[in-house]
Symmetry: C2
Subunit: 406 residues, 2 copies
């Protein structure tokens, strides 16, 4: 995949940590931290996690767990004290804590707070990407009901409103057609981001990895499908994009990573419009749900790659191992215990890869994902969704797949 040479004169997030750090502290103990643990073991990296609860997804299976909150400076500092590099399971760590750690040189922060703010604050992100000339939907900074009314008027009566900070998945996003429908958020947040409702044909996502010195590499651009605002299904590579489309979008993601000085994985979620153009939707600076396919479908999975990038180790090949790979999320359904359905799904499909997050089941909650790798994306998707239904709803008495094993 596309690779850019290091760019030494660029004002990057370079820091004092030595190349090839061995102790990487992970702030947050969700499934993204959890899925870093296996690759960390193989690479010989030590990866303590900062968890708020010992039962959290990564905390339950990590060998080193520090209990504390990501927004408590003392807790974050205690983690920083025992590692060379700090990285993230999520983006919600206050910038001033990270800046203080960076200033003191306790540990390198990767991605650094100056980059991370673009994944933390959607207004900052929109302002910066627009200034850099990267393609965005039409957007408005909203500080009052009058701003909202004006934006609604310009946008033709409907508008997407987002809280600048703290949102994830469907949280913090609202489609409105009247200025009064976001009064509560305005009162709560002071400022909001408003965006046109993009008439997109599909959603794409581009993952890239970047080292502190600027070496960067792109994964194949994928197609993603959301369900109630949550990532649900991914096909890699994105069907019908072609080599030229792949290269163009990879180049966009690589240039955003470079412009913002990202270290680690960067996911650029995009809308593709009817004319084949793309508009940047969201940024994430960590492994991302739309990259989970790479765990089983690429030479170097995104969790290993993130660790290599933030440890300042040479990046790994992003080549896919087969013509197509798919990922389907397991969103909490009818079954509270996933084991019977997982058993049935493994029996029905020996090539299926199941990844469970060890989280209690709640409706719609991300509790795991499945992947399949092969020749034909459509056929893989059908198999992956059969597995998904078996796992989240449990095997049904009438289900033929449950008769195949035992």
């Amino acid at each position: 995949m596309s690779k850019t040479p290091p760019c030494p004169e660029h004002p990057s997030s370079a820091d004092a940590a030595p190349a090839g750090a061995r102790r990487i502290g992970i702030i947050g103990a969700g499934q993204l931290a959890r899925m870093m643990l296996g690759p960390a073991i193989e690479l010989g990296l030590t990866t303590p996690v900062l968890a708020t609860d010992p039962a959290e997804s990564a905390a339950a299976v990590a060998s080193r767990v520090r209990l504390g909150r990501h927004d408590d400076e003392q807790s974050v500092r205690a983690l920083a004290d025992e590692v060379e590099v700090i990285t993230f399971d999520h983006e919600h760590v206050p910038a001033q804590i990270l800046e203080a750690i960076q200033r003191d040189g306790t540990a390198a922060v990767r991605p650094g707070p100056a980059a991370l703010v673009h994944a933390q604050d959607k207004l900052v992100m929109r302002e910066r990407l627009t200034a850099l000339g990267h393609p965005c939907p039409r957007w408005w900074r909203i500080a009052s009901s009058a701003d909202l009314a004006a934006a609604l008027e310009e946008a033709g009566g409907r508008i997407v409103v987002k809280t600048p900070r703290g949102g994830y998945d469907a949280h913090g996003v609202r489609l409105i057609d009247g200025a009064d429908q976001a009064e509560d958020w305005l009162a709560q947040h002071g400022e909001l981001l408003a965006e046109e409702l993009v008439p997109f044909t599909r959603e794409l996502s581009a993952q890239v990895a970047r080292r502190p010195g600027g070496e960067a590499i792109a994964y194949p651009v994928v197609q993603s499908v959301q369900k109630d605002g949550v990532c649900y299904e991914v096909v890699a590579p994105a069907p019908g994009l072609g080599q030229e489309g792949q290269r163009r979008i990879q180049a966009l993601a690589l240039s955003i990573a470079d412009d913002l000085g990202v270290t680690g994985m960067l996911a650029v979620e995009m809308f593709e419009t009817a004319d084949g153009e793309v508009l940047v939707n969201e940024l994430a600076m960590r492994p991302h749900n739309t990259g989970h396919w790479s765990m089983d479908g690429a030479v170097t999975g995104q969790f290993e790659q993130h660790l290599r990038a933030v440890a300042d180790l040479p990046l790994g090949s992003t080549d896919p191992i087969a013509p197509a790979a798919v990922m389907v999320n397991l969103l909490g359904g009818g079954a509270e215990d996933l084991a019977p359905g997982a058993h049935a799904a493994l029996a029905a499909d020996p090539a299926l890869k199941i990844h469970l997050y060890g989280k209690s089941v709640r409706p719609g909650r991300k509790i795991g994902h499945v992947t399949l790798v092969g020749e034909d994306a459509q056929e893989l998707l059908e198999r992956a969704h059969r597995a998904e239904r078996l796992i989240i709803d449990g095997p049904q008495p009438t289900d033929p797949a449950t008769g195949g094993d035992r």
Copy 2:
């Protein structure tokens, strides 16, 4: 790959544990236990390890570690008390401990002691395989110097002598040409196994996985090369074996697994002779060094597969993901710190996969391995050995590969 249907009437190692066990205790905390941890996390299995030292390879990175010896009944029982299934990092657990646990129903023991004895005791193994009609080198049970002299005479003056128990890698194996050369072992062990020195053309290894009910599946048969009696290099599949040769040897390994009632992974190490026949050399009932290629080269790696088999979960596809895969062991060399060489090796080859065991470096000690997957085994081997030398000896000042990164 070849798959046999369950064989319910066969006297198998069936036990009372439910299908789909979730807590698997691992006796021993070497690199084999360590490499089960990543797949266990993804499958949502809990895998406490019994370690003699908290610094052992798996103990250093596992979330649940119980300190105690594998030959101490109380320690093994304490592990059994917290799991549904007991499995192994090595085969050195006394049978009477396992039999007692099995008898009490504390936990299922997989593989069970009646199967495991064939990997623990080479005399028992030879006797049983010979009785079953499986191909073995000519062998003799040695209880006295007179037995040794007779065997030497029959074998033409040179003979391989093995201690029945406790050997591994090159330990417990000696080539002798005089009856006096094994007096010490005779005095120590009482009985020895003697075998003809097989004029083999190469060594092959066949891995299969088998569930308690009898479902079994074979991996591609591989070619292995030893260095001073230690596994050093593996090519998968074995070059030039052909589909017919593959099927024949897979069928042999599957029938040994079934005959002995193995649960989990079974490795059958074999000699290939000039006439294309194979003779069974050794058995191992756990993931095996000759199967490490499958971590990166097959749909289901052997560590995941072993866990699925002993948990009584449906087995995964053993299909290779590319025409060729190679594995080269990292045996302790000149460098005490592997990080600089690993850094250089990753920089030189973005497709390289490095697995480090977190063990201190001693000359010849297994401290990790590398794998590569691709089209041409010879080319992959050259690259893997370049990486091996960089990692075990460290980058040399004159080495061009070290100039490529930073």
